[in-house]
């Protein structure tokens, strides 16, 4: 089911309202915590670190994309990430988008689960990622690029794009390694539209990042170098089972930076540049997130569970 939030002409005010609602709900239900997020700067790539058990992270992300042969857009999504155990994190996404001079629409939901496969740290740490997507063809968050996803796919109006409904299963193997402060993550991606006629699609995301400071300073500070993590991401499609390879695929290179504040907030910024003619010229992304520790305990308490 798709809801059109407004008719013709985008309501840019709806974005901050959406952020406000999401974060307000979380703030009301979870007390402020002492837990301090140490989030990676990646927006597309995943490393092997899961959410701390019992913690809820509420995130809002926005992607501004340029569009040749159509209208530029701003896609946005909210993530509710919960650490079920130290080896399992579950996450719900709700997404929408504004296409300028067109409309603002809700584009679908995703349910994602990440499972840590090995109990201890190794040189390479694998995590299994399984996601079910229920989205429309108008979904433009570009959270992952796979198969033959190209810029021209998004040139149509929202009215036309939202006629397409996608039920997809997405599987990733998150391989990640941390050494001397550097994190390197590689995510091979396999996606299957659940219609039998649709092929399996492939993609990748690679990232490397490092905090600007490795030692923590003794004083509490917002601008200490250890609060900033900078990195680089690259992601793109690798074709599908019917036509594997790099032809008719899009690829992006994106410098990323995260700023972890002592007040539990994290800000992320990423500027993705298209690497070939099939890619959007620019994908400017930003995100804000806040971690609420003790969410699981609060919910148990609400339902009279044993703590």
């Amino acid at each position: 089911m798709h809801f059109v939030f407004c008719g013709r002409g985008p309501s840019k005010a709806s974005v901050p309202i959406f952020v406000f609602i999401v974060l307000s709900i979380a703030t009301v239900f979870c007390p402020p915590s002492s837990l301090w997020a140490q989030e990676s700067p990646y927006i597309v790539t995943y490393d092997h670190y899961l959410e701390e058990p019992g913690s809820l992270e509420v995130e809002y992300f926005s992607t501004f994309g340029t569009q040749r042969g159509g209208n530029d857009f701003q896609a946005f999504w909210a993530e509710f990430e919960y650490g079920a155990t130290a080896w399992w994190t579950s996450e719900l996404y709700v997404s929408g988008q504004i296409t300028f001079n067109d409309s603002t629409i809700f584009t679908g939901t995703r349910w994602e689960n990440r499972f840590r496969l090995l109990q201890r740290e190794h040189i390479v740490n694998p995590v299994l990622y399984i996601e079910f997507e229920n989205t429309s063809g108008a979904d433009k968050i570009l959270k992952e690029i796979e198969g033959h996803d190209v810029e021209s796919d998004f040139a149509d109006s929202n009215g036309a794009l939202r006629q397409e409904h996608d039920h997809e299963l997405e599987i990733k193997l998150l391989l990640s390694s941390t050494f001397k402060g550097w994190n390197v993550a590689v995510n091979p991606i396999v996606t299957k539209n659940l219609l039998p006629s649709e092929p399996w699609e492939f993609g990748y995301a690679i990232g490397a990042s490092r905090p600007l400071g490795l030692k923590a300073s003794p004083q509490h500070c917002s601008f200490c170098p250890e609060n900033f993590i900078a990195g680089l991401e690259m992601y793109g499609g690798l074709g599908d089972t019917q036509s594997p390879g790099l032809h008719e695929t899009s690829h992006y290179l994106a410098p990323v930076i995260a700023w972890n504040l002592p007040s539990d907030w994290t800000f992320r910024l990423s500027s993705g540049f298209g690497l070939n003619d099939n890619s959007h010229r620019l994908l400017l992304r930003w995100g804000v997130s806040r971690e609420f520790s003790g969410f699981g305990t609060a919910v148990k308490r609400l339902f009279g569970g044993r703590l």
Binding site: S34, Q38, A86, W87, W88, T178, G181, K215
Partner: protein, 169 residues
């Protein structure tokens, strides 16, 4: 072109089958996770939370704390502890329902290398996440702070700095 009703019905049946298969997979997955959780909960009850300290490899145990002599390490370690560990181990590191008491002899007598190893690898089956996302120097700062917890006030006064005391442990 108008779609034939029969074709629509077949499409709906196919979609229903896919959704049923998906739900089935989810239910199976959830059951397996529940079983695994129950089994690990049973083994957790039987096992002391401090038993993991004995499982640290020899090489890891023998690692020296490179920040033991750093005068800022205890303060910075305390800050990091408050940011990342207090939720489970408590404000005074005395333990909670979710995390072990880090003032116990088992912890305080463990080598800095052992504590660093536990911090790095976590105790995933007992709910402690891996903390290798903190850079190595920050993990050593936390270890330095933890090792400073068993220094009694009288001991601290007799020494010129807390970090020298830490190094002696």
């Amino acid at each position: 072109m108008k779609t034939l009703p029969m074709f629509n019905l077949a499409k709906r049946i196919r979609r229903a089958r896919i959704m049923t298969a998906l739900l089935g997979m989810c239910a199976l997955g959830a059951s397996l996770l529940l079983l695994r959780n129950q089994a690990s909960a049973r083994s957790r009850k039987e096992e002391s939370p401090y038993a993991v300290l004995a499982t640290a490899p020899e090489k890891a145990r023998e690692r020296k704390n490179p920040l033991a002599a750093d005068p800022d390490a205890v303060v910075a370690g305390r800050k990091l502890f408050e940011q990342h560990c207090v939720e489970c181990h408590g404000q005074t590191a005395g333990g909670t329902m979710r995390g072990a008491n880090l003032r116990r002899d088992e912890v305080q007598q463990a080598t800095p290398g052992t504590l660093f190893w536990v911090l790095t690898n976590g105790i995933v089956r007992r709910g402690m996440p891996v903390w290798s996302k903190l850079p190595e120097p920050q993990r050593w700062q936390i270890v330095t702070y933890l090792k400073s917890l068993n220094i009694r006030p009288s001991q601290a006064q007799s020494s010129s700095s807390a970090t020298e005391n830490v190094a002696s442990h």
